[in-house]
Every structure is written in structure tokens, then in C-alpha cells.
């Protein structure tokens, strides 16, 4: 038997098991199951497909629910509506294979939350060997639901759950999503209990997408079930449904957390790349043949311009690489500006640059403050080897003193450059950031039908207003 060919192949297993212990008997042919009787309410013929398993059935003509456990066929509830308001999207009697097993749709329920009048559909699936399952359809999205016997850790019905409450099962935590009263609004088909239109249970849903753990409490017992998100297309195909399925809208509670998964994957990838990049940066920093090729000291008078300073010629050897120009001046609530060019002594190629240093400080109502620094650095990339000199003009501004001051310009070669590193790093964060924002919006939408949303909603804004 073991799963793969469940019910159908009984004959084979029958013969196989009739070993020497059991006296050989002709395998009894399966008795036809379905039974018919006249509806106690309207007299119409009612068929019950699984007597012995089903305890109640709904009359197709008058929609009364009927107890079939005794020949009295007691009416359990009558339906007030004259026309059928709801039509199952999967016809009763359809059979399909889900999760590797064959299921027949034997019952259909519409239930509503009594407070909000929010309603959804439930299809009862039956296999005489495996028992019952449910397909629950809500706003076009589907869950496959299995009743479980093991008890989750939860304090569901001792108090109304508050935000963030969890139920634990098999080492997983499920977050409270919904709590309310669910009432039977409409029924069709047959059921393993005595179904009564209008009867209600207290229900709580906890989610850990794509799974949902639910508890339902009536006067006698608490029944737990585990739901799993199921693709509508898979169900549509399995039951060979001719009509279109309901239009999907919103984000269902159990939508698989693909964004969350993606985010963690992207995050991991980015982290790996960051580590790689940082290692590479460290490597090149350590390897960089840092050397100073020019150290020029000059003077300037504040609030004056000084033009056409030419430095001595200096050599830049080896490969084409960057040149780093460092400017230093004793600025103090003042500024110093240099514009100039790096000139190749042999062919006159120029590399223009400009840079200023400024440093201000003071005190205000927030305390003391300062900004800027007395040093500035700029890089000139891809400078071929050769002899070079600098042409520079200086400008400066200082309100408090006009004494001549000294500045220095240093040209270094083969300095490690951090600019690219920081640029790539910040660009790298855009991807997970975007993915995080996308995830947040999906999660907020997922929780928009819940009173327990960890995300701010329009409603809570208006409440606090």
C-alpha cells in the first residue's frame, strides 16, 4: 500500500495477505455504498454517498441538513433562502489527486466571521482510507488543511490572545493572526458530523507562512488543524474543474514567504561580496607601493590671491597609476583654496585639479561645534610614468588675521584608493535594501486582514488620530 497506489489496488493486497494462517476465502466484492431516502422536510430524493462515514447530508432541493445516523432522518437545520446563494467552485463528487492521494469533494461549507461578516468557502475532502481533509478558499487563495491530534503549546482559549502571541508546534512558532467566531452560513453535500446552519465555533489562527495553525472550540472540545498554502492552479488541474476559479485579490495569510527567502539569499550574497571586496581592498592597500614624490611648502597671505606657483620637477616611476595630491594649511575659521594642474614635463599633458581646505568651529545653543579639517586629499587617476611638475594658484579667506602662513602640497604615488571601495559597497546595499522594502510591503499586505498586524495600518492611524 504505502502511499503510492493507495486505495485502488485492494484486490492485489488482498490475495497477497491471504497467507497460510488465514483460511482461503473468496475476496468479498465491495458492496455498493450509496443510499437514497426521501427528505423528511420536502420529500425529494436525497442520496448519501458514504453512509457509515457521513453523519449528516444536505437535501439538494430544500437545503435542509438531515441526520442520517438513524432511519428517522431527523432535520438538523432548515435553510431560509429560497435560491442557492453559493455555488461551489469545485463541483461536489469531483475527485482529484493532491499530496499524492486521491480525494473526493463530498461537502461544501460557507462560513463567516460573525463580527465582520467576512466569509470564505470550505470543501470537505474524503478518502475512505485516509479520512478527511479540507480545501479552504479565501479571496481566490487556497489552503490544504489537515486535522491534527497532537497538541500545540498555546493558551488559546483561556484568554483572548494579544498581539504577538505564539503557538508552538514541532519546534516552529506560529504568530497569532486571527481570533473570532466562525459560523456556518451555507452547506451542501455530506459531513462526518451533524452539521447545523448557524452553529458557530470560537476560532484562532496562527501563521508561519506558508503554514497556518488553527484551533476551533465548540462546547465540547478543541480541534487543531494545520493548513498549508496550495497553488490554485494545482487544485484546478487536480479536480479537472471546467469553470474559472475565483479571482485572486490581496495577499493571503499563508502566501509563501518568497520575498523573505529572497532577502535572506540576497543578504547572504551581498555579505559574501562585501567580505571579498574588503579583503581585496586590504590586499591592495598592503601591496600599494606608497611613496611621496613631491613635498612642496609655500606661503600665503590670507585674503589674497597668489598665482603661478611652479614646483620643482619630480619623477613618477614604474607603471601608470594614480597620483594623490594632499593639501595642508593651518586654517582656523578660515579657508584656503588651490587650483592647479599636474603637468608632464616631456609632452605637456596636463591634469587639472582644484581643492580647498576649510575648518570652522564655535559654540551655539547646542554647545560647541566644528566642521571641516586642515587637510584635503584628491586623486588623479591613470598618470603614466614620467617627469612632472605642478602649477598652482592659491586663494584664501580669513576674517581675523592677515599674517603670512605656510601651506604644503604633497604628491604621492601608488596610494591605496578607497573611493571605489566605498562606491561599490554603497551600491551593493541598494539591492538588499530594495528587496527589504519589497518584503515589508508584502508582509504589511499579508497582515492587512489581521487585528494583530505588526505593521502600522491606515486604521491604526485613524484610531490614534
Amino acid at each position: 500500500m504505502a502511499g503510492k497506489d493507495e486505495a485502488g489496488n485492494n484486490e492485489a493486497s488482498n490475495n497477497e495477505a491471504s497467507n497460510n494462517d488465514v483460511p482461503k476465502k473468496e475476496p468479498k466484492p465491495a458492496k455498493p455504498l450509496a443510499k437514497m431516502f426521501a427528505c423528511t422536510a420536502c420529500g425529494a430524493s436525497v442520496t448519501i454517498n458514504y453512509p457509515g462515514a457521513s453523519m449528516s447530508v444536505v437535501c439538494k432541493s430544500c437545503n435542509s441538513t438531515i441526520d442520517v445516523t438513524s432511519e428517522a432522518y431527523r432535520i438538523l437545520s432548515t435553510y431560509v433562502g429560497k435560491t442557492s446563494l453559493f455555488k461551489p467552485d469545485i463541483p461536489l463528487g469531483s475527485r482529484g489527486k493532491l499530496k499524492g492521494k486521491e480525494w473526493e469533494v463530498i461537502g461544501f461549507l460557507v462560513r463567516e466571521e460573525t463580527g465582520s461578516h467576512y466569509f470564505w468557502s470550505e470543501y470537505l475532502l474524503f478518502n475512505p482510507y485516509y479520512g478527511y481533509r479540507w480545501l479552504v478558499e479565501d479571496k481566490g487563495y487556497w489552503n490544504f488543511v489537515t486535522t491534527i491530534k497532537r497538541k500545540p503549546e498555546a493558551k488559546t482559549f483561556t484568554q483572548v490572545p494579544s498581539k504577538g502571541v505564539v503557538a508552538k508546534l514541532d519546534g516552529k512558532s506560529y504568530q497569532i493572526y486571527n481570533y473570532g467566531t466562525a459560523a456556518v452560513k451555507y452547506v451542501l453535500g455530506e459531513f462526518y458530523w451533524r452539521v447545523v446552519v448557524g452553529s458557530s465555533v470560537l476560532a484562532a489562527d496562527y501563521i508561519d507562512p506558508p503554514m497556518m495553525l488553527s484551533a476551533e472550540k465548540d462546547g465540547f472540545e478543541i480541534v487543531w488543524s494545520l493548513a498549508e498554502y496550495m497553488d490554485a492552479k494545482e487544485i484546478h488541474k487536480a479536480f479537472k474543474v471546467a469553470d474559472r476559479f475565483p479571482f485572486q485579490s490581496g495577499v493571503p495569510a499563508t502566501r509563501p514567504p518568497t520575498e523573505l527567502k529572497e532577502l535572506s539569499q540576497i543578504g547572504a550574497l551581498c555579505a559574501i561580496f562585501c567580505i571579498f571586496l574588503t579583503c581585496a581592498q586590504f590586499y591592495f592597500t598592503a601591496k600599494a607601493p606608497q611613496q611621496t614624490v613631491l613635498q612642496y611648502d609655500g606661503t600665503f597671505s590670507p585674503n589674497n590671491k597668489k598665482a603661478d606657483i611652479t614646483t620643482p620637477v619630480f619623477a613618477m616611476k614604474d607603471d601608470t597609476t594614480n597620483a594623490v595630491i594632499t593639501l595642508r594649511a593651518p586654517v582656523s575659521n578660515s579657508w584656503f583654496y588651490v587650483s592647479g594642474e599636474l603637468v608632464n614635463d616631456a609632452d605637456g599633458t596636463t591634469y587639472p585639479f582644484e581643492k580647498s581646505v576649510e575648518y570652522y568651529f564655535g559654540t551655539d545653543s547646542d554647545g560647541s561645534w566644528s566642521e571641516g579639517s586642515d587637510t584635503a586629499q584628491l586623486g588623479v587617476s591613470s598618470v603614466p610614468p614620467g617627469n612632472y611638475y605642478l602649477n598652482i594658484d592659491t586663494e584664501s579667506g580669513d576674517f581675523r588675521q592677515s599674517n603670512a602662513q605656510q601651506f604644503s602640497v604633497t604628491v604621492g604615488r601608488g596610494y591605496p584608493i578607497y573611493d571605489n571601495y566605498w562606491w561599490i559597497l554603497s551600491a551593493l546595499f541598494v539591492v538588499p535594501l530594495y528587496s527589504f522594502v519589497a518584503m515589508q510591503s508584502v508582509e504589511a499586505a499579508r497582515w492587512s486582514n489581521s487585528d494583530y498586524s505588526p505593521y502600522p495600518s491606515a486604521e491604526s492611524y485613524s484610531e490614534s488620530y
Binding site: S13, K28, P29, G52, N127, Y129, K149, F220, E221
Partner: protein
């Protein structure tokens, strides 16, 4: 295995287990009580009208690596339904019960080294089973024997009344306290998936 003849119709009545003291003749449906090698007819079992179950007398299965065979059944009814208690005989002559209801299956064994707890039971109540752990009451049901067949370890006449308390323990563990006229007993076991029981010789079901 002990084979005796039915005092009513002469057909063979088999007893696989030494602890079986009751049997229903598979031909004439006489309910029989065994005392040693003697069989006495004490009544007759009326056929079941609606009976949909995948198990039958002769079905075999595996539980925790041990093979068992279904040798008897008691169908129990309560206000809101019914379930089957299948009497099982294991390869090592141990006996147990396979409880079957609505596609749920549990295998359990009588627990002789425990005094059945007494008092009132209600769903949600925690019951201390000593070294077997704490169990929680799921439901309490007044039950009646609706039907019996095969061999059984007590007189399972139709109409036999008892109280059945279902409990669940850690993960898949389950327990049943049976409060009958003459004695109270505790059964301990676990819920098992249909596929894991590796059933053979199941009852054919029309259309499946």
C-alpha cells in the same frame, strides 16, 4: 491457535490469542463465550447496516517494526458518532488495540502496572500517569457496543456500556481510560499515519 466448533452451527471458531474469551461465529453470528475448551452461546449479533471502514478481520499491519493481525472488533457508538476498536494480535503473542475513526489510527496496549486514575474527567484536564507522563483529556464519552466480530478478550455483547476517556500526551502519544461495569483499564499508545502502518488485506471499498 485454538480452533473450536460453534455450538450453534458447527463452523470453526478460531482463537489466535490465549487471552480471548469471547468470539462471534463468522457464519451464524452467534456470540460465544469460551471457558477453556468449551464454547457457550450467549446471544446473537445483528448485522451492521452502514459500516464504512478500510479494516477487516485478517488485515495485517506493522507497528514499530512488529507485525500484527486484526483478529476482532468492537464498534463503539456515542451521541455524536462511532469508532472501531480492532483487537490486534502481534507476532510475539502480545495483544493490542487499533483504534480507527475518521481516518485517524492509533495503536495502544493495555497498561497493567498502573492504577487507573479515578475522579471526574473533562476536556482539558491534565492527568498524571506517573512515569508515563502527563496526559490531557481530549474527550469523555458514554459509549455502547454497537457491534462485535472475531475474537475479543472480554464479553463484548451488543449494548455493553462503558465510559471512554481519550487523552493525548507528548507529540503523538495517546491514552484511553475505559471505565466499564466490572473494571477500569488504561491503554497507552500513539497515533500512527495510515501509510506507516503498512496495511495488507484491507477491505475493498466500492469505487476506491
Amino acid at each position: 491457535m485454538l480452533t473450536l466448533s460453534c455450538p450453534s452451527c458447527g463452523a470453526n471458531v478460531n482463537f489466535q490469542s490465549k487471552v480471548s474469551v469471547f468470539a462471534v461465529c463468522s457464519y451464524c453470528k452467534a456470540s460465544l463465550v469460551r471457558q477453556g475448551m468449551d464454547l457457550d452461546k450467549i446471544g446473537e449479533v445483528a448485522e451492521l447496516v452502514d459500516d464504512l471502514t478500510p479494516i477487516q478481520i485478517g488485515t495485517t499491519g506493522m507497528y514499530k517494526g512488529q507485525k500484527f493481525e486484526v483478529v476482532g472488533r468492537m464498534k463503539l457508538g456515542y451521541d455524536d458518532g462511532y469508532w472501531n476498536e480492532w483487537f490486534t494480535y502481534f507476532a510475539d503473542e502480545k495483544i493490542g488495540w487499533l483504534a480507527e475513526a475518521q481516518g485517524f489510527y492509533a495503536v495502544c496496549f493495555p497498561c497493567f502496572d498502573m492504577v487507573p486514575p479515578v475522579g471526574s474527567f473533562h476536556p482539558g484536564k491534565a492527568v498524571d500517569f506517573g512515569r508515563y507522563g502527563i496526559y490531557e483529556v481530549d474527550d469523555v464519552r458514554k459509549v455502547k457496543c454497537l457491534f462485535s466480530e472475531g475474537e475479543l478478550p472480554f464479553n463484548a455483547l451488543q449494548g455493553r456500556k462503558s465510559e471512554s476517556i481519550d487523552l493525548s500526551g507528548f507529540e503523538d502519544e495517546m491514552a484511553t481510560i475505559e471505565i466499564a461495569e466490572k473494571e477500569n483499564r488504561v491503554f497507552l499508545g500513539s497515533y500512527v499515519d495510515f501509510d506507516d502502518l503498512q496495511f495488507k488485506n484491507l477491505r475493498p471499498i466500492d469505487g476506491w
